[in-house]
């Protein structure tokens, strides 16, 4: 769905030109031919140098699969179609050996549950050294010095710690270690973060967030942050992609998303965030359960839960990502189809 229109319509402040990475028409289906489980349907996104993008959505929306696809971690047989361009190569066509030279070096990745990301049988030192030596074979002062510097940047005291095992560290420390490995072993221009703070307590979360912000600024990395937490997205990112049922349903600058959400899903999602001071009355919650990409229905995937249905067209045809006309914001909703609903355009209206 990315075309020159939306590029131009991105609004001021966003760089145009060659993107750092670009996903085009990506469709991923797990399972087997007898029992297919679609996860992504025709997803496209563009990542510019140095920009921070948030991908938000509920469980089952496909956001994690999207992130992993960017790092080409999804097994080839499951990729139905699409391409992930990084540099001038399509990562999905590369062999594992070639991918290993890109991952960790140019693309860094941070995972959700830091405890599970380290091999319990090896020391932290071994695991860090291994990665650092791969991507920086001859650092000044030696590998350990390099690691020490990296750990300093992430706020972990390295003294004597390298000989310890993962189980001896706290969640927060492990997450910092993982960030250190992802950001400093190589020189990544792109950092992929899959819910990096979800398993951390609130205080640690705040620290990690601050650190990520700093690192981004210092290293000039682009960031793709997957989260179900809209507030997080607001704090860290420039642009937000909202996913639902394996598709991107809205794309907007952060400020625009919160001030003027275009897609009914986003609007309802924001409505369900409790606001302080509390208004009297019941808290709003969206009806129904989140749909997954596996639901094979015609028409808009959000239609069953939508409170702003346009009419029969919502059940019949699936809307594409259409410009809302405001600051390059895109939404997959028939209301922005000028042919369909010239007067009932939600854009520019504050959420109900």
């Amino acid at each position: 769905m990315t075309d020159s229109d939306s590029t131009a319509a991105r609004g001021p402040g966003i760089r145009t030109g060659e993107p750092l990475a670009e996903v085009t028409g990506l469709s991923v289906t797990f399972g087997n031919p007898h029992a297919p489980v679609p996860a992504l349907r025709e997803v496209s996104m563009r990542i510019d140098r140095g920009e921070a993008i948030a991908v938000v959505g509920e469980s089952g929306s496909g956001k994690t699969t999207l992130l992993r696809s960017i790092a080409a971690l999804v097994p080839r047989p499951f990729i139905r179609s699409g391409a992930v361009r990084f540099g001038n190569r399509d990562l999905l066509t590369l062999r594992e050996r070639e991918l290993a030279t890109i991952r960790g070096r140019e693309i860094g990745m941070v995972f959700q549950d830091p405890v599970n990301c380290f091999n319990p049988a090896f020391t932290i030192g071994y695991q860090l050294r291994r990665v650092f030596r791969l991507h920086r074979p001859e650092p000044a002062g030696g590998t350990d010095a390099e690691i020490g510097r990296a750990l300093d940047r992430v706020g972990v005291d390295a003294a004597g710690r390298l000989a310890r095992y993962p189980f001896e560290f706290s969640q927060g420390q492990l997450q910092r270690l993982m960030i250190a490995a992802a950001c400093f072993a190589g020189r990544p221009t792109l950092l992929l973060a899959d819910e990096p703070t979800t398993s951390l307590d609130v205080t640690t979360e705040a620290q990690i967030l601050g650190m990520l912000r700093e690192l981004r600024r210092d290293l000039g990395m682009a960031l793709v942050l997957v989260t179900h937490n809209l507030a997080l997205a607001a704090q860290l990112c420039d642009r937000v992609l909202v996913m639902y049922a394996g598709r991107i349903v809205e794309e907007a600058r952060v400020a625009d998303l919160f001030a003027r959400p275009a897609h009914p899903y986003t609007r309802q999602l924001l409505r369900s965030l409790p606001v302080l001071p509390r208004q009297p009355g019941r808290l709003y919650s969206m009806p129904g359960d989140p749909a997954s990409a596996a639901d094979a229905r015609r028409g808009c995937p959000f239609a069953p839960r939508c409170e702003a249905l346009l009419g029969a067209v919502c059940a019949d045809t699936e809307p594409g990502l259409l410009p809302t006309g405001v600051n390059g914001q895109l939404a997959a909703c028939h209301r922005y189809d000028t042919a369909q609903a010239p007067t009932e355009n939600l854009a520019g209206k504050a959420p109900a």
Binding site: P287, G288, D289, P290, A291, S292, E307, A308, L310, L346
Partner: protein, 329 residues
């Protein structure tokens, strides 16, 4: 903003409630809908039929010696005759009864005793009774099966054994000996299962409400521990059959003129080098086929009743006395 009535029925969602199938239904469904399991079930049923009714329908008296010694299979003797001229086919039929009886019987006893001990140990986990019980199991488990059972069983050959006033047949001693070596397996399965269940909230709740030990075991624990125990039983029966065959083959088991498959194998041992294959091939086939049938059933049961056993897989089936997963203590 236009309003539309919110309609939930169109999208029940993944958390929609389905009718929960009762365990019995799930088991029956698993057994009947999988071709392998169905084969196993039919096979076992056939074996039981043979064991129950066969001896009455056998063509010849299995103990009847004749002058047609070591004759290959023919129309008169479907499985040939042994060196005493006895009809192998009839002996095989009678052997089915003995082999199955010992196999199933010993497993049943081991399940009952081991299961109970295991549950008790699990409830007392970490404390003295648990340690003592598990050490005792370790001791039994340490003796190689084909050393322990022959000795135990062999000590009863030719002697009058009495359990108090009741005379005990050699066959019973054999069954008892085999069940002894299988007790540790069931105890470990029961204990592991109990430990896992104890951590579940319903057990904590029951204890908080002051449930007595017997109630805890019978009402709460048993239904949940029974599943893995049944699965283990399905895998242990064929192993008991094999053990009995091996012990009888060595001469420590069922004594002549009674014959189990192992005995027939033993009889045929010396004939092999003369090329007389029928006394070896038929009992061997019977054993192999029996094991396969029970394993098919066990596989299907395991998928339904004991998902935790996935990781233990072939180990449980093949060595029979093994349960990996929880490392005991």
């Amino acid at each position: 903003m236009s309003t539309t009535t919110v309609d939930n029925s169109a999208n029940p969602g993944p958390s929609g409630v389905q009718a929960a199938a009762s365990p019995r239904n799930r088991v029956l469904s698993a057994l009947l809908h999988r071709p392998l399991a169905l084969t196993g079930l039919c096979g076992v049923a056939l074996l039981v039929l043979i064991a129950a009714v066969g001896p009455l329908l056998a063509p010849d008296n299995p103990d009847q010696t004749s002058s047609h010694a070591t004759a290959p299979p023919s129309l008169a003797h479907w499985m040939g005759t042994d060196q005493l001229g006895r009809d192998v086919f009839s002996r095989m039929i009678v052997g089915t009864r003995i082999s199955l009886a010992v196999g199933v019987g010993s497993t049943a006893i081991a399940l009952a005793i081991g299961g109970l001990l295991g549950m008790l140990a699990g409830l007392e986990a970490g404390r003295a009774p648990d340690t003592v019980l598990m050490r005792a199991m370790d001791v039994i488990f340490a003796f190689p099966v084909l050393v322990f059972v022959p000795v135990l069983s062999g000590l009863a050959i030719g002697r009058q054994i009495h359990l108090g006033p009741v005379p005990v047949s050699q066959l019973a001693v054999l069954t008892g000996a085999i069940s002894v070596v299988f007790v540790p397996v069931f105890a470990r399965v029961a204990r592991a299962s109990t430990l896992a269940e104890s951590k579940m909230e319903y057990m904590l709740a029951a204890r908080a409400f002051g449930a007595r030990r017997q109630d805890l075991i019978l009402r709460n624990l048993l239904p949940n521990v029974a599943g893995p125990l049944m699965v283990q039983a399905a895998f242990s029966i064929p192993l008991a059959v094999i053990t009995e065959a091996a012990v009888s083959f060595l001469g420590f088991g069922v004594q002549p003129p009674q014959a189990s498959w192992g005995d027939i194998l033993n009889d045929g041992r010396n004939q092999i080098l003369l090329g007389d294959w029928w006394e070896t091939v038929f009992p061997a086939l019977a054993i192999v086929v029996t094991v396969l049938f029970f394993n098919f059933i066990g596989d299907a049961l395991r998928d339904v009743l004991d998902p935790r056993a996935r990781a233990r897989e072939m180990t449980a089936a093949a060595t029979g006395a093994v349960v990996i997963g929880d490392r005991g203590d």
